[in-house]
Amino acid sequence: MAAEPGQGVAAVVGVGEGLGAALARRFAAGYRVALVARSAEVIEKVAGEIRANGGVAVPIQGDATVEAQVAASHERIRNELGPIDVLIYNGGRRPMGRLLETTPDVFEDAWRLHAFGAFLWARQVVPDMLSRGNGAILITGATAGVRPWPNSAAFGPAKFAVRGLAQVLARDLHPQGIHVGYVNVDGGIDMPLLRSFLPQAQDEDLLKPSAIADAFWFLAHQDRSAWTHELDVRPFKEKF
């Protein structure tokens, strides 16, 4: 869709080729968008596409697990685009492995990326949102945060942690006008990496990134008399 940046600012933290890119494209239809990731390649490419479409997009290289970098990224977004109206925390990567296959480093890194990073980013954006009395914080969840498989020894606990954080934030911030949503993506997302693992997958077995992004968009714009905190999305064929 052609981008028509509005008055607001949306930041997508964790942008790869899959969902993060789709979220940035979707929100560019109504916001000036910051794309935050550790590596420059994808955010520069997607930001370039959005700008070519008439949108406003700024790639911000930064590590969401390091407090000083989060603060610096946030400061840049505030200076270049303005205060953030919608924060989308889309910390990606899913380490797979059972207990004895999972090293302590992998366990800690997963927790840092999925839970600690969301905590750090929320602490940055909430003061501006509180002073305005509105805003949205949307977090990407996964099946593993609800019902983990045995090979999610690191990923499952990390997703439980961020889901717990989301519930705390919702109960804290909803009455103050900030909408906190947790989108439980219950299935495989259609992107090149997953396709390479699952060469036999049909289109209909996977969630389209653009369809998930529509769910985020809808959450970000619900009437505040009827907010959804946790939303599950899955392909129609998915077992659940």
């Binding site: 009827a226 907010w227 946790e230």
Partner: protein, 233 residues
């Protein structure tokens, strides 16, 4: 172009009417079911492409006649919203046990009757949606809801079971949990000092039901919870 058909049960002045209005605005012909003939008649005059079908959804024979009339007059339904609800206050010692049974008929059995009659055509078309509106009683039993909560819990589990059966065949089933007091004339009387912010707006519920009925099938929601921003939970 032929308008798609939505069946909405429990069309009173609140959520049901708002859902009927939303689907009408979305291009649907809306079959409105409720027991009150008069109320339906006035909504029928107000809502474009709506038609009233006075009916007791717990009476299978009456329901058969009603659905046959809908198919003839409007077409084969693409969407069912089961919003009819039987409720009661009172703890397990206070209620007439028959109350639980009656609410079970409206909330759970009627969903079963309706889904059994409407889902096959949706499956054949590979397209359609069945949405039940519920509330937090579907998730927890409070003392004063002994005649009600068990029926809503059963309704949610029935919806989940139907979802797992027909979802892979292209029919979207969802359960909308409304964790709030709905803004209605009688709830305003019950909570006379509550501010506007305390209530969930019927139009906001209807917006969500319409949205869920039109999600891309690569990303369907089953559980959809709604509450006002101020609500504690």
């Amino acid at each position: 172009m032929v308008n798609p058909v939505a069946v909405v049960t429990g069309v009173g002045p609140g959520t049901g009417a708002a859902i009927a209005r939303r689907f009408s605005r979305g291009g649907y012909a809306v079959a409105m079911l409720a027991r009150s003939r008069d109320r339906l008649a006035s909504l029928e005059r107000e809502i474009e492409r709506s038609r009233s079908y006075p009916c007791d959804v717990t009476d299978e024979a009456e329901l058969d006649g009603t659905l046959e009339a809908i198919r003839t007059e409007l077409g084969t339904p693409k969407v069912l919203v089961h919003n009819a609800v039987g409720g009661a206050f009172g703890n397990f010692l206070e209620i007439d046990p028959e109350v639980l049974n009656r609410n079970f008929q409206v909330n759970t059995m009627a969903l079963l009757y309706l889904a059994r009659r409407l889902a096959p055509a949706m499956v054949a078309a590979g397209d359609g949606a069945i949405i039940a509106t519920g509330n937090t009683s579907a998730l927890r039993g409070k003392a004063a809801f002994a005649g009600f909560a068990p029926t809503k819990a059963a309704q949610r589990i029935l919806a989940e079971s139907i979802a797992r059966e027909v979802g892979p065949r292209g029919v979207h089933v969802a359960y909308v949990t409304i964790d709030a007091v709905i803004d209605l004339e009688w709830t305003r009387q019950r909570f006379p000092n509550a501010p506007d912010d305390f209530f969930i707006k019927p139009a906001a519920i209807a917006e969500e039901v319409f949205h869920v009925a039109h999600q891309d099938r690569s990303a369907w929601s089953f559980n959809v919870e709604l509450r006002p921003f101020r609500e504690t939970w």
